[in-house]
């Protein structure tokens, strides 16, 4: 019984992931060697052509570069700000409950809605952000349609949406650091800076480790809805990510072959990133 039990426990999960993730993923892999018309009435085998088209397309390489920048920056900024905010919120100053509630709220908002709310705020002429900018700095910016501001706007909205998730984990992580440890550090003459970065941050490194990978996945795959609503990958493809391109090819143009090839490429990249991250990262994680 004890031998069999773990397998039984895994049945529901594996039933779902095999039927609804692995089998379709395998079909998608198969499709990457074919091209098909919209209604699926004609399919031709193209070998590695779909991959070649992707990998030798300067535009795609530019998209890949932008993806790297976008994912890298959103994850870094999110982690950093979430940690700092968690420090502030753990000081338990009066009103913390309200601040925490307000800062958590973006978590509950869907990416598409988040995108449309920011679009409204960033309206070039009638929007609040530009009203503020014109009055304080005397400049007016077309946030969503010009370089590099479209990128900044997107970065801001994505980080806005992503912070709460990391914040929750950091708040909890910081609360579980024992006070004795910090007090003894104070007695040893450690200042606030040292306490924060030499003691607290390393102590929550397992959380950071987990959050980095989860945030990479989020920024890589889930962000296309925000992009679709806010910039549509523009101006001129400047803010297109790999995922957004897949979404366009698969959903808007029904080019299943090229879209599948791109998915395979993305999976490979994610697999490499993860393996490297685990091999290198695990060594640096400080398990308290």
């Amino acid at each position: 019984m004890r031998k069999l039990l773990p397998y039984l426990l895994l049945i529901p999960t594996f039933f779902v992931i095999i039927s609804f993730i692995y089998i379709p993923a395998f079909n998608s892999f198969k499709m990457s060697f074919f091209r098909e018309n919209k209604f699926g009435t004609k399919t031709i085998y193209v070998g590695l052509d779909n991959f070649k088209k992707v990998l030798f397309d300067p535009e795609y390489l530019q998209i890949a570069g932008f993806t790297l920048l976008y994912v890298g920056l959103t994850v870094l900024i999110t982690i950093f700000l979430a940690f700092l905010l968690a420090l502030l919120l753990n000081k338990n100053v009066p009103g913390t409950y309200i601040y925490r509630a307000l800062i958590f709220i973006p978590y509950a908002v869907s990416p598409a809605i988040a995108g449309s709310l920011w679009t409204f705020l960033l309206d070039p002429v009638a929007g609040h952000v530009n009203y503020f900018f014109t009055n304080i700095f005397g400049t007016q910016i077309a946030w969503l349609t010009t370089r590099p501001y479209a990128f900044y706007a997107l970065l801001f909205a994505t980080v806005w949406k992503m912070i709460p998730f990391s914040l929750i984990f950091y708040i909890a992580g910081l609360q579980s650091i024992s006070n004795d440890l910090l007090e003894s550090a104070t007695l040893d003459g450690a200042n606030a800076f040292t306490k924060t970065w030499k003691i607290k941050f390393p102590l929550v490194s397992p959380i950071t480790f987990y959050l980095v990978i989860m945030n990479i996945i989020n920024a890589m795959f889930k962000s296309f809805a925000i992009i679709d609503v806010m910039t549509k990958g523009g101006p001129g493809g400047y803010t297109s990510t790999m995922m957004y391109k897949v979404y366009l090819d698969a959903f808007s143009y029904q080019k299943t072959g090229p879209a599948s090839a791109q998915s395979v490429v993305m999976f490979m990249i994610m697999a490499i990133v993860t393996v490297v991250y685990f091999v290198y990262g695990e060594r640096h994680v400080h398990y308290g």
Binding site: R2, L5, F20, A114, F120
Partner: protein
């Protein structure tokens, strides 16, 4: 005395930063609330308003008239509850298997599960998953909107981490008292995991309530649409000028998750603390 003033300055400083950040973070929703209560002729008034100046509730009534919100809310609720329920149970079972058992293929199965995180789920959905739903005859049904999402690597992972924090002695003690692994699981582990479950419930509920692309693809008819699709219907309405109605609709869509989230957030944080997320 010196320490006390420093502490006070520190507190005031923290308060100020937190107030500014809360305001920035909350601004989009505040704006949505403001606009949802403006009469149609005052939406564009310049300078733009930050707080409501009128209380025009008609926008909410009109939002309910523009799209069948009642039905959409019901659909979203059914779907979110069903997915959450299924996902939490499958996650608990898998987490328990990975945390408390040694079995052949454990490393492989775990890696196999974890790897799903790196598949771009959305692309898989658009064509291949749709075709599978089609073969099953599930297109345009609740099945298609729920069953494929009833398990995930994240849930299994979170529960594995959680169950690993219970000392092995606990299970040994239970064994001595004659409790088998299932009894130990049901009578001891689960009751001790209530707050962790609450936390995962929040994550899953928010996730499934906010699902967007898949319902767009698989629900062909009004009776199967979700609130997110409804809001998209309001926003992309090529003939819509009425921002008040759009924002009212948006807020209706956001409200359930905000309520679930805020009412359970304390429990959630506590559960994470207790489960010792740090390691």
């Amino acid at each position: 005395m010196y320490m006390k003033t420093r502490k006070r300055i520190d507190t005031i400083f923290t308060e100020i930063i937190l107030i500014i950040i809360s305001l920035i973070v909350f601004a989009p929703l505040l704006l949505a609330i403001t606009i949802s209560f403006q009469t149609p002729d005052s939406v564009f008034s310049y300078p733009p308003k930050l707080f409501p100046t009128t209380f025009y509730f008609n926008n909410y009534i009109n939002a309910f008239k523009a799209i069948p919100f009642a039905r959409l809310l019901l659909n979203s609720a059914i779907i979110a509850v069903a997915i959450t329920f299924g996902k939490v149970i499958s996650g608990i079972l898998a987490g328990y298997a990975f945390a408390n058992f040694k079995f052949f293929g454990k490393r492989f199965t775990f890696a196999f599960l974890f790897a799903t995180l790196f598949l771009p789920a959305e692309t898989i959905m658009i064509v291949p998953l749709f075709l599978i739903m089609n073969q099953l005859g599930w297109v345009n049904t609740y099945w298609a909107l729920t069953i494929p999402f009833m398990a995930s690597a994240t849930n299994a992972f979170l529960f594995r981490q959680h169950f690993q924090t219970f000392p092995a002695e606990l299970e040994d003690a239970a064994k001595i008292d004659g409790a088998g692994p299932m009894k130990y699981f049901l009578k001891i582990l689960l009751p001790l995991s209530k707050s962790m479950i609450a936390g995962v419930v929040i994550i899953n509920f928010v996730y499934s309530w906010n699902m967007y692309l898949w319902p767009m693809i698989v629900s062909m008819e009004d009776k199967m649409k979700t609130v997110q699709v409804g809001v998209k219907m309001l926003i992309s309405g090529e003939g819509t000028n009425n921002w008040g109605v759009i924002m009212a609709g948006t807020l209706i869509a956001v409200l359930p998750t905000v309520i679930v989230f805020l009412s359970l957030q304390n429990l959630f944080v506590k559960s994470l603390v207790r489960s010792g997320v740090k390691g």
